[in-house]
Symmetry: C2
Subunit: 190 residues, 2 copies
DNA sequence: GGTCTGCTAGACTGGCCAGTCTAGTTGTCT
DNA sequence: AGACAACTAGACTGGCCAGTCTAGCAGACC
């Protein structure tokens, strides 16, 4: 054989942590990966290290690209908004949130990095795009970073809370995203 | 003596759970309450029951009143926004969030109740107030409930994430609240 | 053929912890 | 005084689990 089972362990750990949080036992992860417990410890020095690795991956996965290609502002925001909502409000996004949030106090530095590489980076890019639109006279001239934060907040603010607390709302994704983007555009009309 | 130590246990449990989440041991809670472990079990059948009780209280505490007294819409929203942000983004609010969120899957029904009695109720009341303002011609006629959800999202969306991930932002509370409310009012201007 | 490395199953240690039990104390009510 | 209810300290059981250890297997490389 001599297969490197590192990846397999990582995937199994991700599934486990997403489902049960840090509670997941190493035995369970090993079982899920169809691997001996010892193998887990051959690749990761401790459960904490394994967890951190998984956390880094999860944070990276949430990141949504903002295609700068689309010339039309509204169209671009709609596409971005939809993608962002799918990532953050989907089962995996919510699971990741539930898994990571309670462990933040134990891994403060990592948490900050995770924020920076996902939400923080998205604010930055969105702000860039908005600033360009402001320059082009498509939006009222204002603090672009703040505007980006508002849009992200509207896209995933209360809806994330609802999902986290097992409350389901009915509205279709596309429609809700459009309403949000349009509300945002109204606030930032020239 | 014969003092009813129920309250004392509840308070200690709240502190413990806020600090360490469900991880807190019953021994620790008892120690904190200066009470024998047995006393804890005299008042609560299990750790889960104690946790649920604390959770209910925490959820209730987050609720912020919307003083209907203030005639001026902007003034009223500012006051509400400031209070809401203090509750939800303050150390206790964030701690409560961190404590409750990972346990939701184990207590789904309770979670829904908690949402309904805090955020849900706030959406309802805020929507009422906004609807009145729409009727009075102070805001553009639109879906008041949706508008309320947007305002709440803007007030605590990304900022909550920042706090949860140990990222600190500098802006003063009053100023940021005002910017948010004004952005909202722009989107809903007549 | 020998050795090295990645792997296996499964037993084991030591620690933590929910929940129970014992045996007794203090105060209250009648 | 006697009964009862709230409480105490602390020992104990049984379970879970991180991390280690043993002994051995399988393919790779020389």
């Amino acid at each position: 054989m001599t297969v490197l089972h590192r990846e397999r362990v990582l995937r199994a750990a991700t599934t486990s942590f997403l489902a049960h949080g840090y509670r997941s036992s190493v035995d369970e992860i090993a079982r899920r990966a169809r691997v001996a417990k010892q193998t887990v410890y051959q690749h990761f020095t401790s459960k904490d290290e394994l967890f951190k690795e998984v956390a880094r991956e999860l944070a990276a996965r949430v990141f949504s690209e903002l295609e700068s290609s689309s010339a039309d502002l509204r169209e671009g925001l709609l596409r971005f908004g939809l993608a962002y909502r799918q990532r953050t409000l989907g089962a995996e996004g919510i699971g990741a949130f539930r898994t990571l949030v309670p462990e933040v106090p134990r891994f403060k530095a990592l948490a900050r990095t995770m924020y920076a590489s996902s939400a923080g980076e998205m604010v930055r890019r969105l702000a860039e795009r908005l600033a360009a639109a402001m320059d082009a006279g498509e939006l009222r001239r204002d603090d672009a970073r703040f505007a980006a934060e508002m849009l992200l907040s509207m896209l995933a603010g209360l809806d994330r809370i609802k999902r986290l607390f097992a409350v389901d709302d009915a509205e279709g994704e596309a429609k809700r995203t459009a309403r949000i983007v349009d509300t945002f555009l109204r606030a930032y009309a020239t």
